[in-house]
C-alpha cells in the first residue's frame, strides 16, 4: 500500500483500469461488505491509479431507482436496500432494542448539539442522565467520546458516529432533519441561565469534528 502511495504519478508502470472496470470493482467491494467502506479503503484495495470517488458517482447513478441503492455515510459508502421495499424483508432477525425515551432524547441532543457534555445534556433535559442511558448509546456505537472540552474539569464530550449516520440513513450530521431551522431559532445555542457567568469557550463549535 505504502509503495503505491510513494510512487509519484509519472512513474506509473501500469495504466489504471478503465472507469467501467473501476465501477465493477467498487460494486463488488461495496456489495461484499455489510459495513460502509471508506473511499480511502476502496482506493487501497483497487489497483494502482484507480479513482474510487469517480467510480462511486457512476455507480450511485446506475443504481438510482433500483432495489438497492448506493448511499453515502460520512466519508464512507454502502449499498442498502431501497426504503420502499423494507416491508419485503424478514424482520425477525433484526429486533432493534427498544430504546427508552431518555435514550432517544439523549441521542437527539448529542446529534444536534455535538460535541456536547453530560452536564449540557442534563441542562437541556432538566434531569440527570443515567449512566445506563449513555452506556446503551455507546454500546450501540451510535455515540462516542469526542474531544474534551477546554473548560474547568475538562469534561468529555459526546459526538455521534458513522454507525449512527448509517443507521438513520444520513450522509452527515449536517443532514439531520430540521437542523437549520433549530439553529436559526437559536435553539441549539448553549445559553446559560441568567446571572451565571458565561465561560469563555463553553460555546462549542458545532460539528467541528466532522
Amino acid at each position: 500500500m505504502s509503495d503505491i502511495m510513494e510512487n509519484p504519478p509519472q512513474e506509473r508502470l501500469f495504466e489504471a483500469p478503465p472507469l467501467a472496470e473501476q465501477e465493477r470493482m467498487v460494486e463488488a467491494i461495496l456489495f461484499a461488505s455489510a459495513e460502509p467502506v471508506t473511499v480511502a479503503e476502496l482506493n487501497a484495495r483497487m489497483p494502482h491509479g484507480c479513482e474510487a470517488e469517480h467510480a462511486l458517482e457512476e455507480l450511485r447513478y446506475r443504481y438510482e431507482g433500483r432495489g438497492v441503492r448506493v448511499v453515502k455515510v460520512g466519508e464512507a459508502w454502502a449499498i442498502r436496500t431501497a426504503p420502499d421495499l423494507g416491508h419485503l424483508m424478514q424482520k425477525e432477525t433484526v429486533e432493534t432494542r427498544k430504546l427508552s425515551r431518555a435514550a432517544i432524547e439523549t441521542l437527539a441532543i448529542v446529534a444536534y448539539h455535538q460535541p456536547v457534555t453530560r452536564a449540557e445534556i442534563e441542562e437541556i433535559r432538566g434531569v440527570s442522565v443515567s449512566r445506563g442511558t449513555v452506556d446503551q448509546l455507546l454500546e450501540l456505537e451510535w455515540i462516542r467520546f469526542g474531544r474534551r472540552r477546554m473548560t474547568p474539569g475538562r469534561p468529555v464530550t459526546y459526538v455521534v458516529t458513522q454507525t449512527f449516520l448509517d443507521h438513520f440513513g444520513l450522509e452527515s450530521a449536517r443532514d439531520l432533519p430540521g437542523l437549520k431551522e433549530l439553529r436559526a431559532a437559536g435553539l441549539l445555542d448553549n445559553r446559560p441561565p441568567p446571572g451565571r457567568e458565561v465561560e469563555a469557550d463553553a460555546q462549542p463549535e458545532m460539528f467541528d469534528e466532522d
Partner: protein
C-alpha cells in the same frame, strides 16, 4: 402576560386545581419538573414562545399544593422547582428593586421559556429522527457479507550494514578469546576442588599437598603458582567441610594433608 381580574382568577384557579389533580395521577410518567412544566405549558395551547411563565408558575404551584393535600410525597427536585417558581412569581409581580443586582424576573422567565422551548424542540427532533428509515427496520444491509480476507504481509528488512554489523558483533566476541587463551595458565579453586575430591579418598596418610598438583602444571612457574594457590584454597575448603586434616611443621614447610578418618 395579561393579568386577570379577580373572578377570572378564581375560575382559572379552580381549573388549575383540577388539572393539577389529573397530572398527579400520572406523576410517575414525568421526567422531572422541567418535563412537568412542559406538559403544563402545552395546556396553555399557545406557541411556547408566547407562553405565560407567570401562569405556568401558578399552575405548577397549584400542582404542588394539590400533591400536598393528597399527601403525595414529591421528590426533592419538584419542591426545589416550586420554591424557585414562587420566587420567580414574586419577582414578576413586584416592581423591580433597584438595589437588587441579580437578574430580573423577565430575564429568568425568558430563560425558563427558552429551556422549555428547547426541550420541546429536542423531543420533536428525536421523534423525527426515530421516524426516519432505520437500518435493519426499513433499510437493509448485505445479508451475506463476504469476508474480506486480511492478508497481512510482513516484509522484513535488513541492510548490508545490519548484516556486517551482526557479523562484526559475533567476530568481536571471538576476538575476546585471547583472554580465554590466557586463562589456560589459570587453575580455579573449583577445578582443584574437583580433582581433590576424587583423590582424597586415597590419602589415608599425611601427604604433601604439592603431590596433588596435576601433571604438566609444575614446570611453568605461572601455572604452578596458580595450581598451588588453587589446591591450597581447595584443601581449606575440604577442611572446612570436615573431609581432611591439614598440617604444616613450620613456616614455609611443606603443607601436608590426609583424609579425616575419625569423622562422623
Amino acid at each position: 402576560m395579561p393579568d386577570t381580574g379577580n373572578v377570572e382568577h378564581l375560575n382559572t384557579a379552580v381549573a388549575e386545581r383540577v388539572a393539577a389533580e389529573a397530572l398527579i395521577v400520572e406523576l410517575d410518567g414525568f421526567e422531572g419538573p422541567l418535563d412537568l412544566l412542559l406538559t403544563l405549558g402545552r395546556t396553555q395551547k399557545v406557541d411556547l414562545r408566547q407562553i405565560s411563565v407567570l401562569a405556568l408558575a401558578r399552575q405548577y404551584l397549584a400542582f404542588v399544593e394539590r400533591a400536598k393535600e393528597l399527601r403525595i410525597e414529591l421528590a426533592a427536585d419538584y419542591l426545589v422547582m416550586a420554591a424557585w417558581l414562587a420566587f420567580l412569581k414574586s419577582r414578576l409581580l413586584l416592581p423591580p428593586d433597584p438595589k437588587d443586582e441579580g437578574p430580573s424576573g423577565e430575564e429568568l422567565a425568558a430563560h425558563l421559556a427558552f429551556q422549555l422551548e428547547r426541550l420541546q424542540a429536542m423531543r420533536e427532533a428525536a421523534a423525527q429522527l426515530m421516524a426516519r428509515d432505520q437500518l435493519g427496520r426499513d433499510v437493509f444491509a448485505r445479508g451475506i457479507p463476504e469476508d474480506v480476507e486480511r492478508v497481512r504481509q510482513v516484509r522484513y528488512t535488513a541492510t548490508l550494514l545490519d548484516l556486517m554489523q551482526a557479523y562484526a558483533r559475533i567476530r568481536t566476541k571471538d576476538e575476546f578469546r585471547p583472554f580465554v587463551m590466557d586463562r589456560d595458565k589459570v587453575m580455579t579453586m573449583e577445578q582443584a576442588l574437583d580433582r581433590m575430591r576424587h583423590l582424597i579418598g586415597f590419602a589415608g596418610e599425611w601427604t604433601d599437598l604439592s603431590s596433588y598438583m596435576p601433571e604438566g602444571w609444575e614446570v611453568d612457574p605461572e601455572r604452578r603458582r596458580s595450581a598451588a594457590a588453587a589446591h591450597f584454597a581447595a584443601s581449606l575448603e575440604l577442611v572446612k567441610a570436615g573431609h581432611v586434616e591439614l598440617r604444616q611443621g613450620e613456616t614455609f614447610a611443606p603443607i601436608q594433608i590426609r583424609k579425616r578418618t575419625a569423622n562422623v
